[in-house]
Symmetry: C2
Subunit: 344 residues, 2 copies
């Protein structure tokens, strides 16, 4: 089969690799119907040291089950299924608490002999715990929206849930990438009263408004902080959803969070130390979030997607074939594309 | 009247100062019956640059109301009252949310013309919002326990509440000072299943055991982390109550917190930046806590103290008169005394 490998910064290739086969009785083999490129794939695409052996990449996909191991009972050949961006057994003590990202028998795609999502076929470990069945459909928009449950919409939802977004709460979303826009949608879904989107890419912030943003602030740093404070009577917002991952984004988040409020991070932090001294302490600011247990959220979010109440798939603004994946990375890195859908 | 002033590191003096008088119609004047020295007073005692003008110090007291302003309705002359370690109107939007530490009309003792708690008499701004009435008593132990509501027991409770301590949860308390021991007591009160106290001062950890600690770990750093992990099947505890305020204590807290868990800080951070990068993110660790809204907690905690179910006043192991306050600071700084009670 063909699959995507990354060899270093700016060097993504689609190559022929061995066809996946069942290894464990708990495995399934899934033929990918839709995959995509994640903002987090852009971190290695931007900075990974060049290496001779490429590594498989991609962690968001839905597809058709082709084969199942002897122990798999919840899905079978022919089922349409979505996989969260980490696999998990869904039975260990962490999974039972809804933290499948810390599953004792879980792991990531594209490593340790497990295929990446940006390919034709994927061997899925812990298939019973990992895969969630979807209704069959040929509807491109519905497929796209269902695919976002794998990561981007679930991640936006995680930001909103961990920050405590609820009816009557005010929210600042930092970042107008696909996760930021998904966080806007998730905050709207949870009943936020006011959603300030901090982003400067007009086409994206426009979609943010359609997703529920009540205000858009294009300015950054001190200027951006001052504007959000102005919008909120000087107080800041109850919750901040930090969807970028850089230190300046985190610092801006602290600048706009209301005393007693929470800043949730879902952008992978690109910094080792952050400013959590006296002002955070005095303001009783909670710092929360992390890697989203998408598997936990899919059953809750799926009905709203199936019934069309929410269309998170609108974050995809380009669709390509597998051979175009390298160009897809370039387009996302250059911010020409918001999020790229892949039809292998 | 006589009151305590600090002039710099190691330089605390008891001097004659003007008698407090009502200034605002919302003020009360309270004659101090019990006061005490706080672990946080030891930070300026350890490092404050010497200055010619001393500043008033002390922020924990209970006493008898001597006079009230025209607008004060909730307390009157002769009432025994306790003051939280910050004053607040208890009506503003933050106070209504239980965050009296961010009161729009609040402030601290010993600054801006407001007396410190380590003195004979205190002018109390926002008396209706600040003071909580207590039953009259001459019982030394009960007075000591009621005094802890002003700060130390409320602060331990804040750590436990913000970290999410509840029935069935495991807890690590970092620090065997008066706040750490109060946090043990608060965690026990909230139904924690297991409470690991990290501290090396045996007399203190012994009291910690009486307060509800199920395990004591004297080791620090990597060694201490390994021992707590060993006690918890390698997982760490659901919650960590960091009651010291140093960076090594915070780092140790991160080392013993379970994935998906929370580290609450109630020791004033003595660092500006902390290690909140990938491991915190990957583990979905929440960092919470801050300055405790004692005023919010007093009504909840008071009945357990009055009815003798909890005796947080046991953290006091020395009682002195006002003139001995400088010696009291020395004893606490030298860790000869755990917490010093002052009878002016």
């Amino acid at each position: 089969m063909r699959a995507t490998l990354i060899y270093g910064a700016g060097d993504v290739r689609v190559e022929t690799v061995p066809d996946p086969k069942l290894v464990e009785p708990t495995d399934a083999v899934v033929r990918v119907v839709r995959s995509c490129i994640c903002g987090s794939d852009l971190w290695p695409y931007g900075s990974m040291p060049a290496q001779e052996q490429g590594r498989r990449i991609g962690h968001e996909f839905l597809g058709i089950v082709e084969e199942t191991g002897a122990d798999v009972t919840s899905v079978r050949r022919g089922d349409l299924v979505v996989a969260p961006f980490l696999y998990s057994d869904n039975t260990c003590e962490f999974c039972q608490e809804g933290l499948q990202t810390s599953c004792l028998h879980g792991g990531g795609w594209g490593a340790n002999g497990v295929d990446g999502g940006q390919g034709e076929i994927v061997r899925v470990p812990q298939a019973d715990g990992t895969l969630v069945q979807l209704p069959h459909t040929e509807d491109d928009e519905l497929l796209a929206s269902m695919l976002t449950l794998s990561d981007v919409f679930s991640t936006g939802h995680h930001a909103a849930v961990t920050a405590g977004v609820a009816k009557g709460k005010t929210v600042t979303v930092i970042g107008d990438g696909a996760v930021g826009l998904s966080a806007v949608l998730a905050a709207h879904r949870l009943g936020a009263e006011r959603i300030v989107l901090m982003g400067r890419h007009e086409k994206r912030t426009e979609l943010g408004r359609e997703f529920g943003a009540t205000d858009v602030v294009a300015e950054r740093g001190e200027e951006g902080i001052a504007l959000v404070r102005e919008l909120t009577g000087g107080r800041g917002t109850h919750t901040v959803l930090e969807c970028v991952g850089t230190k300046p984004a985190f610092e801006m988040g602290l600048g706009v969070v209301r005393a007693g409020g929470a800043l949730s991070r879902v952008g992978v932090p690109q910094y080792a130390e952050g400013p959590i001294g006296r002002p955070v302490f005095t303001g009783n600011i909670t710092i929360t979030g992390g890697v989203a247990p998408a598997r936990q959220y899919i059953p809750e979010l799926l009905p709203d997607v199936l019934e069309g109440r929410y269309q998170p798939g609108r974050v995809f603004d380009r669709t390509i074939g597998l051979s175009e994946v390298p160009a897809g990375y370039r387009a996302m890195a250059d911010r020409e594309a918001l999020k790229v859908l892949v039809k292998p």
